[in-house]
Symmetry: C2
Subunit: 242 residues, 2 copies
């Protein structure tokens, strides 16, 4: 099952952290590493810090943008160190792991880590169904990237072994959410229609879109529902041309 869970590191600054994250992943039976625009990669320091997990580096998928890294994923959970103004469901590492393991039985799951200095950007959070927050010392939350991957990976391995032990296996959700790229196409379609309708504030068009994204990311539409929603948008567009 863990084959369906990928770790996505976005805009990582230090190659050593990529190597250390690969090592942390492998100790926890995670093998699929996706790198979005790493600042310096491949790099000797990454290989050195991987220390026996260099096979994960060799097999890592290098991506030009986040879309490519989360393509096909029905669930994207972002790792966030701090509270955000924009409300997005925040879960703890154990819940994140249980959900990731349960959904990995039927599809692809991504756990997304932002860059070391500033974490996830708002545009990255837009693509997440929920955020996982690792509890830390309020006066010293300086968890490095590999340590965060280590803790999330540990919880995933614990959840996976727990699921494997229970004879019933993980609870299989009846609902199969649409892949990340289908959702993204829907949001692009929605935005273009709202622009045409002059519904978006032209000075701040992203603000409303962000709220709408939250709504749909909570709802997690499946493929059929996305088709319906896009059908509505197409009908709206045609109406304007009548």
């Amino acid at each position: 099952m863990l084959e369906n869970i990928r770790i996505v590191l976005s805009n990582t600054s230090h190659p050593g952290n990529i190597g250390a994250a690969a090592r942390a992943m492998k100790t926890m039976e995670l093998s699929r590493l996706y790198l979005v625009n790493p600042k310096k990669y491949p790099d000797a320091e990454a290989t050195a810090r991987a220390s026996g997990a260099d096979d994960l580096l060799a097999q890592a998928t290098l991506c030009d943008d986040l879309d490519a890294a989360i393509a096909g994923c029905q669930l994207v959970i972002g790792a966030s160190a701090r509270s955000r103004r924009i409300p997005c469901p925040v879960i703890d590492p154990a819940s994140c792991a249980q959900q990731a393991v349960a959904e990995s039985a039927q599809g692809e799951v991504a756990i997304l880590f932002g860059c070391e200095r500033s974490g996830l950007s708002n545009a990255e959070i837009d693509r997440c169904q929920s955020l996982v927050q690792i509890p830390t010392n309020p006066v010293y939350g300086s968890l490095n990237l590999a340590s965060a991957v280590q803790i999330i990976g540990y919880e995933i391995l614990v959840a996976q072994r727990h699921a494997a032990r229970s004879s019933a296996g993980p609870a299989m959700p009846e609902h199969v959410p649409a892949a990340a790229e289908e959702l993204q196409r829907y949001f692009e379609h929605l935005e273009s229609v709202l622009v045409k309708l002059e519904f978006l504030d032209p000075d701040n068009p992203r603000k409303l879109m962000r709220r709408l994204r939250r709504l749909y990311n909570r709802a997690r539409p499946d493929e059929n529902e996305i088709n319906i929603l896009r059908g509505v948008l197409s009908a709206t567009e045609q109406e304007r041309h009548k």
Copy 2:
């Protein structure tokens, strides 16, 4: 409560690992670091890797032997990467954390980490009431020292916050186990009496002692019980001189 939980690093080879462990501890609100015979300490690499957690290094307690590091502890849990021939209760990190947090409400608790290469020695395991084993990939269990401290620390912080949230607080055991040094004095007394009684195999005196240690480490006698047990030993010695 976490003030009563100490992290003991025994015979650490690389000072960088001590610094990284201090950083991992501080992110998880642990502050009390005990170092038993570190190979190289203090050291600039330890300070560099501590990265803002150097206050923990400055306050760390340097000890010549394990006895000094676990003095006053009613519970000592050893971190072990592998299964041992000698049976000792093995618990998972969540159980370790729950027990450590619960007992820290009434006394001192130590989590003991052995040296990087070989882990805990048999003599160190002798001093533990139980062993905590972090689940890892069976073909790549290469968890470094700071990563192990990070995971155990994370579970301790989770358990502490959970205990703080529950209005009842952590379950307070009725039984207050004796401190590590009282237990140790009992074992020394017991061994000396058994030698006098010629009960121990002179070719392998440690073997039986190890089994007896297991028994009492499971039972976790309190101070009163230790006094009774030692009273029995004293009576046995006097009997021989009659």
